[in-house]
Amino acid sequence: MIAVAARTAAEIAQRGRPCSLRVRTLIEGSIKYLLWSLTFLSVATTAVIIAVLASETYGFFTTTDHPEISLWTFFCGTEWSPLLGAEPMFGVLPLVAGTLLVTTIAGVVALPIGLMTAIYLSEYATARRRTLLKAVLEILAGVPTVVYGFFALTFITPYLLQPFSSAFGTYNAMSAGIAVGIMILPIVCSLSEDALRAVPQSLRDGAYALGSTKFDVSAKVVVPAALSGIVAAFLLALTRAIGETMIVALAAGGLAQLTANPTAQVQTMTAYMVQIFLGDAPAAGIEYKSSYAVAFTLFLITFFLTWIGAIVLRRYREEYE
């Protein structure tokens, strides 16, 4: 009763007269349902993505123009040449291998550097340096990926890689991988740093009291305590690397081949989609539909990785409070 009286008083103060209970409930309720429907929209987005990709992919696999396409030849075929030759081949493995190669190079570049920078930021840096470094990382994070693609094509390849070995062509997996690594560096760094800083100070103090050096504290106490967050950061960054499009479209080349050679040009799943949607293929043809099958594969891979990341974060979190 007192609560109702107070609420009425507040309404009188606000608009000069009390609001009827029915009107109030109606307004509050409709706002709530409006917001609920917005929330529902985000779920609907996922559903529509899956529906569109699945239906187009189904169309690709049940096509009558090209009888050899089956789940087996798609997922286990080692040749991808939809636009070349008389007999187009649709085996997705070369595209997956291209993506994996670029992602691996990016991971080798970004994960150690990112983690070390995060440790520096969280354990060593003074407040001033931290602010400065965070600003640098924020700028790096905001640079559009097409800029990194341009950087890979016009700087990394001619000035860093080609003087080192003449095997590198204009387009190669290495330059794209390095550029993707630079792109994911801020993600690795800021997410790992969040995880490191969430480790309570008492753990560090305890380790120092036992005579640990700063290295011991960082590497044997703080990093293991924050491991779930660090792994989740790595997974998220790798997901971004797998889905990265503009860098590989510019710098990795356009030849799908099953190779682990970083000097060779490769085509990733995303780069193939760019090639198709830029209009190299007729809009109703089998090549066009194949890009949906590739997109669906890509979507499943990234969805799966993000999901694993969420599980790692939730299940293996060390709770200290």
Partner: protein, 312 residues
């Protein structure tokens, strides 16, 4: 032992020192990369930045090409994206943080949103191509159904086609998960005591949100919004999928106009073999980075001026 150090201690101190050097090297690499990136682009593109470059349309001749269409197109697309993604993101965050009770459903929605933020942007392009550009193929073959005069500002047609509206909606899809997550964090950071105080004074739940939580969360939300917008303005892949045009010779006049954006123009120029066009690409990148820097500095100013601690 007295005065000296055991071998084990020496080794530990050495690894301690090496580790610090390792961390410093890693950190300086990050700084160095940014420096090299900026300097190499500035050297390549600076000579091409001019008023004429900003004020002319695309051309097949490098000396006459400019970025008027992509620059204005980027602003249109970004504005549409903001008008759609900000209210939707904030609304969803309000529902999840202020209304939804802890339940399995809420957990699933949350998981779904974080999954959506990991979906590659090019996949959103495919979704937008089906949903906005073609309306799921509802009217294939026929001329699009339209309202209003094609010259007027309020001209709309269905399906939207590869128009500036479709582009803005596409980017809104891409940044919506980012926007939701950022706003949620902002609402979560508002101390519970503020809400309780308002409730004790007799506010209804919506009054608490609108007059207490939302204003308190606003600076953080705005920072998140600006970061989301700077992501949107740099995004090229989804717009490439929905058919953003590479050569556009006019600025948008209404929501159904053809458009291109800066990152697409950069992609187009960077992908050509001629060095002249690489110079143009670098110049366009400089313009793009200046726009982004402007966005980021607004975010920093907001963070420093408006963000006051809510808990003493």
């Amino acid at each position: 032992m007295m005065g000296g150090k055991t071998i084990a201690t020496t080794r530990r101190l050495m690894s301690n020192r090496l580790f610090l050097y390792g961390c410093l090297t890693a950190t300086s690499i990050a700084m160095l990369v940014l420096g090299v990136l900026m300097i190499s682009i500035a050297l390549e593109g600076w000579s091409s930045v001019s008023w004429r470059f900003l004020d002319s349309f695309a051309s097949r001749k490098a000396a006459q090409a400019g970025i008027k269409a992509p620059l204005v197109g980027s602003l249109w697309v970004c504005a549409i994206c903001a008008l759609v993604a900000l209210p939707m993101g904030i609304g969803t965050a309000i529902y999840l943080e202020e209304f939804a009770k802890r339940s399995r459903l809420k957990h699933l929605i949350q998981l779904n949103i974080s999954n959506l933020s990991g979906v590659p942007s090019i996949v959103y392009g495919i979704l937008a191509l089906a949903a906005f550009v073609r309306f799921f193929g509802v009217s294939t073959g026929d001329a699009p159904w339209s309202i209003g005069d094609p010259e007027s500002l309020f001209f709309v047609q269905f399906p939207f086609g590869p128009s500036v509206l479709a582009g803005g909606l596409t980017l809104a899809l891409v940044v919506l998960p980012i926007m939701i997550i950022a706003s949620q964090e902002a609402f979560r950071a508002v101390p519970q005591s503020l809400r309780q105080g308002a409730l004790a004074l007799g506010s209804t739940p919506w009054q608490v949100i609108w007059r207490v939580s939302f204003p308190a969360a606003l600076p953080t939300i705005m920072t998140g919004a600006i970061l989301a917008m700077s992501r949107a303005i740099g995004e090229a892949a989804p717009l490439l999928v929905i058919g953003g045009f590479l050569l556009v010779f006019q600025t948008p006049t209404n929501l159904m106009s053809d458009f291109t954006v800066l990152p697409l123009q950069i992609f187009n120029w960077a992908g050509r073999p001629q060095a002249d066009f690489h110079k143009l690409a670098a110049a366009a990148i400089i313009v793009q980075l200046v726009v982004l820097l402007f966005f980021n500095s607004i975010a920093i100013i907001i963070r420093q001026k408006l963000q006051r601690p809510l808990q003493s």
